[in-house]
């Protein structure tokens, strides 16, 4: 894949109309755009990068249910069965498991083709190592991190490396946290090859540095004396941004031991990789992308379509007007701006859709931050029909060709259920298919 030279190029074509407008550039928005484009739907995408840069790179499918019991499922498909039985309005209940699998397979293949290969066991969750040293249940694991999961499972002799000047990533912490499960674990702190005058190291800068072979050679030279028989070396996620496979393979060869990554505190390199890769994909397909822009206002045309006024979020000045036959609303929750919490209630600011929510703010959150029941507000969101169309106050689709996907949907708590990526990918797939069925029969 060709590295993107610029992070945020303007729209490629000065698009004034499209079949489908995707609002949101998080995982759901990006997946929807790619799925629609695969189907030959003329699509445009609008959004600021709020959420996706916080992605860890792990693609959760379904891990925990019921939340209150903290039950972690080994088989995510059985977990989906359970959650859709217990919560019939859960977004996963809107499409058959075969479609969820199909969506995941297509998505994984896209990632692989774009140079970000994933590993997953078809019917099992994996336990991955986090920067805190906890083990997280997830489904799709970037290849660069999966080796760590395997090494832990097979108890390979491992050296955990961290760096002077890199905050919030401690090899000693990982050793302390994992020592009971991983007796052969050692740790060392080394200096990162000189990349600039600043002592404060940032993973993105380190990852960019390692795209160059000379820095990889320097790094390997620093690590080798500490190997002490280690078969594998763990590091923060810094194996390049655009050429992770090559960087990883080269580092392993230079060090003389396998290597793997652990994602650092968000926003981190794995999220950046996904964002850059997806944007490059979208550009290469000639899809108009209004990056770092928001839809400021929506009007409706006479044919049941939408007129989107697009502009700068900061100044609220409108720079583009886009006609779209259909819209997929994938703006995320509060961080992404898809939902807005006022002092009295939660609203969906763009279409004024009803938001399923607790009756009063007093009931939004529990008094303990880690209350095992989860916070009720995290189940709030947009309610949809089986065609992913948001419902109005009377329970009917609000608009014939308005669809919603991703974290904005109600009746799921992706953070506690560990189903964020899965919901994004599956509902994006469902919404695109529904649009295709509905708008172009």
């Amino acid at each position: 894949m060709k590295p993107a030279e610029q992070s945020h190029p303007g729209p490629k074509a000065d698009a004034s109309s499209c079949e489908l407008a995707v609002i949101g550039t998080g995982l759901a928005g990006l997946a929807a755009t790619l799925f629609a484009s695969e189907k030959g739907i003329y699509t445009a995408q609008i959004g600021v990068n709020a959420g996706i840069i916080h992605a860890s790179g792990f693609l959760d499918l379904m891990g925990v249910h019921p939340i209150a019991d903290g039950r972690v499922w080994e088989n995510p498909w059985e977990a989906i069965d359970a959650v859709t039985t217990d919560i019939p309005d859960h977004p996963y209940a809107r499409l058959p498991q075969a479609d969820i699998r199909q969506a995941f397979d297509i998505f994984m293949n896209l990632m692989k083709a774009a140079g970000l290969p994933y590993r997953y066991q078809p019917d099992a969750n994996s336990r991955v190592i986090t920067t805190l040293g906890t083990l997280k249940p997830t489904y799709g694991v970037p290849e660069s991190m999966y080796k760590g999961t395997e090494a832990l499972k097979t108890q390979k002799k491992c050296l955990m490396v961290d760096f002077w000047g890199l905050k919030g990533f401690s090899a000693v912490q990982l050793e302390e946290m994992l020592r009971d499960r991983w007796p052969g674990l050692q740790s060392v702190r080394i200096a990162f090859p000189e990349v600039g005058p600043s002592v404060d190291l940032y993973p993105e800068k380190m990852a960019r540095a390692l795209e160059l072979r000379t820095h990889r050679e320097d790094l390997a030279r620093e690590i080798r004396p500490h190997l002490n028989g280690a078969e594998i070396v763990g590091m923060p996620a810094i194996f390049g941004i655009y050429h992770t496979r090559e960087v990883m393979a080269d580092l392993a060869a230079l060090i003389g031991a396998d290597v793997f990554e652990i994602p650092t505190i968000p926003p981190a390199v794995p999220g950046l990789r996904i964002k850059e890769m997806m944007e490059a994909q979208i550009q290469s397909k000639g899809i108009p992308l209004f990056a770092q822009k928001r839809v400021l206002q929506v009007n409706h045309d006479n044919d049941g379509g939408f007129v989107l006024d697009i502009g700068e979020p900061a100044t609220q000045s409108i720079s583009h007007r886009l006609h779209a036959q259909g819209v997929i609303l994938a703006g995320g929750r509060f961080l992404g701006g898809g939902l807005y919490a006022g002092r009295k209630k939660i609203v969906e600011p763009l279409f004024g859709l009803p938001v399923f929510q607790p009756p009063e703010r007093t009931q939004w959150h529990c008094s303990q931050v880690f209350d095992p029941r989860g916070h009720p507000v995290n189940m709030a969101g947009i309610e949809i029909d089986d065609a992913f169309r948001p419902l109005d106050d009377s329970g009917k689709p609000a608009w014939k060709n308005l669809y919603a996907a991703g974290a904005i949907l109600a009746h799921q708590d992706w953070m506690r259920m560990k189903c964020g990526a899965g919901i994004s990918i599956a509902t994006a797939y469902g919404a695109v298919n529904a649009f295709a069925m509905n708008a172009r029969p």
Binding site: K136, P266, S367, V369
Partner: protein, 522 residues
């Protein structure tokens, strides 16, 4: 190590309670050469001393209903401005009335002040609004008074640090479990070290109960009876500072009528609600909404302001009966000699306010010294508070100012919101050596701005935990427990004000600490 394990600790005075009063008594006694030990079941400022306005009263708040307290406030205000200038920002204050406020009270205010002997300068309304543009355009009267803002954390840290230098010992996380008595005398106090789970005793000649709202509970352990009424007050912290001065609503003391600047933020409060118990005191959504609505009458920008935190403290009101408004009760303090309860060497000091903490300590120490036969007079009227470097980190704006002025090129910012560097954490860790215990995240947070900025601990908790592992301060999975406890402590003040931006920040925190790290799964 020896101290705790030897089981044979002895002191002249055992002080219970690590708030402003307890640490003030410790410093006062230490300055008189009296040997003392202070024990605290949590950490410094765990009660009302850490949950107040940070207001150094001019006294004007009390001129109408409690002129005696007003006068005491004025005197102490002036002493503290001389003796503890590093803990105080001499902002000055306004009393301002808006349309609809009681005009009679407005008209009488200068007379009340004059009667109490308090300076009060009438302001031209245009001038007042020019000097404080946040004031409502409906302002109808304004007076300037000598209010100031005082940093309760720095104040208490200075008190205890000075006392420790003079030989006082301080045990944190140490709870009183009982006493050994002989006749009318307490011989020893029984304690529990909550970190190690070990019980131990301290033999003492006098016991001072300076436990604020908990005074009744502690007195009960000794066999004395105090009727303490709990009056809860809730306050809000704005994201940035809104005024230069303290702004008081010019009306009889009521809810949400004072805004106090504190470094880079402002603090709005308070409320007054009777509580039956001291368990789980926390601000509520209803209180927060009420404070915002009330405050916005005087300062309209409060309506749309971003708030970063809320907190609640409990005022202990002693012997006031059960009727009437808690605000009409004297804010003067209570020094109780329990000789009346047949215990000759036990005194309780409670009530009062932050502004009068020094006077409360003086009166208590006078009584204690009288019993001990110590004739050295009080020194705190004339002895300046020292300013210890490690106590500065608690002051809003200090660490960012230090960082921007100069920092070592090897240093790293572990808290990026409030700009607290690794070197500050090192200094705080070093200051813990006197406890013979290691620091935890909550202890570090008490002594710095860590967790008090925009992220409310979501990010800095991870960076500091990693640093504590690197330094060998924590091991095994203690870091996870530290982060969980710390975030839960921060949550207490966040949960009730999660709308607008803070809602997005809370979502990000949940996504990281639950979604990614799975900290709820244990």
């Amino acid at each position: 190590m020896g101290l705790i394990e030897s089981n044979s600790l002895k002191t002249q005075v055992l002080i219970i309670g690590g708030g402003a009063t307890g640490t003030g008594v410790a410093r006062d006694l230490a300055l008189r050469g009296v040997n003392c030990i202070l024990v605290e079941k949590k950490d410094i400022n765990a009660g009302a001393s850490g949950a107040n306005h940070g207001l150094l009263h001019s006294g004007a708040r009390y001129v109408s209903n409690d002129p005696e307290s007003a006068k005491k406030c004025m005197d102490e205000n002036r002493i503290l401005k001389q003796m503890a200038p590093d803990c105080i920002e001499d902002t000055g204050g306004f009393f301002a009335a808006v349309q609809g406020d009681d005009e009679r009270f407005v008209a009488d205010f200068p007379t009340y002040c004059e009667k109490a002997g308090l300076p009060c300068t009438p302001m031209d309304i245009k001038d007042a609004r020019e000097q404080e543009p946040a004031l409502s355009e409906k302002t109808i009267a304004a007076y300037a008074v000598e209010d100031a803002s005082i940093d309760p954390f720095k104040l208490v840290l200075e008190n205890i640090t000075h006392a420790q230098q003079l030989g006082c010992q301080f045990f944190r996380n140490t709870k009183v479990t009982g006493v050994k008595k002989s006749g009318r005398q307490i011989k020893a106090v029984e304690l529990l070290d909550k970190d190690s789970g070990k019980a131990f005793c301290i033999e003492t000649e006098m016991v001072v109960n300076a436990t604020g709202a908990w005074a009744g509970q502690v007195a009960g352990l000794v066999g004395a009876d105090i009727d303490v009424i709990y009056s809860k007050g809730t306050l809000l912290i704005t994201h940035n500072r809104m005024t230069h001065r303290v702004i008081n609503r010019l009306r009889p003391p009521s809810d949400a009528d004072i805004l106090v600047p504190g470094g880079t933020v402002s603090i709005l409060g308070t409320t007054s609600a009777r509580m039956k118990t001291l368990e789980d005191i926390r601000p509520t959504v209803e209180e927060v909404d009420y404070i915002v609505d009330e405050g916005a009458v005087m300062l309209p920008a409060l309506e749309t302001k971003r708030y970063i935190r809320a907190y609640s403290g409990v005022r202990p009101l002693v012997g006031t009966g059960s009727q009437g408004n808690d605000r009409s009760v004297s804010r003067s303090f209570d020094l109780i000699d329990h000789a009346e309860d047949d215990i000759d060497n036990f005194v309780t000091i409670t009530g009062g306010k932050l502004t009068t903490f020094r006077l409360m300590a003086e009166k208590t120490a006078d009584l204690v010294c009288d019993r001990l036969g110590v004739s050295t007079p009080c020194q705190t009227r004339t002895t300046s508070m020292l300013s210890h470097h490690e106590t500065q980190w608690a002051v809003p704006g200090f660490s960012s100012r230090m960082w921007l002025e100069h920092h070592d090129p090897d240093d790293l910012l572990l808290c990026e919101c409030e700009m607290v560097p690794q070197s500050a954490i090192e200094e705080i860790l070093a200051s813990f050596h006197v406890f013979e215990k290691e620091a935890d995240l909550n202890g570090i947070s008490k002594r710095s701005r860590v967790g008090k900025g925009g992220c409310q601990g979501a990010f800095c908790s991870i960076r500091i935990a990693a640093f504590l592992y690197d330094r060998g301060v924590i091991s095994a999975n203690e870091g996870i427990d530290n982060i969980r406890d710390f975030l839960n402590a921060r949550w207490k003040g966040q949960q009730c004000l999660l709308w607008d931006m803070p809602m997005a920040a809370a979502e990000l925190q949940e996504a990281m600490h639950c979604g990614l790290f799975g900290l709820e799964l244990r």
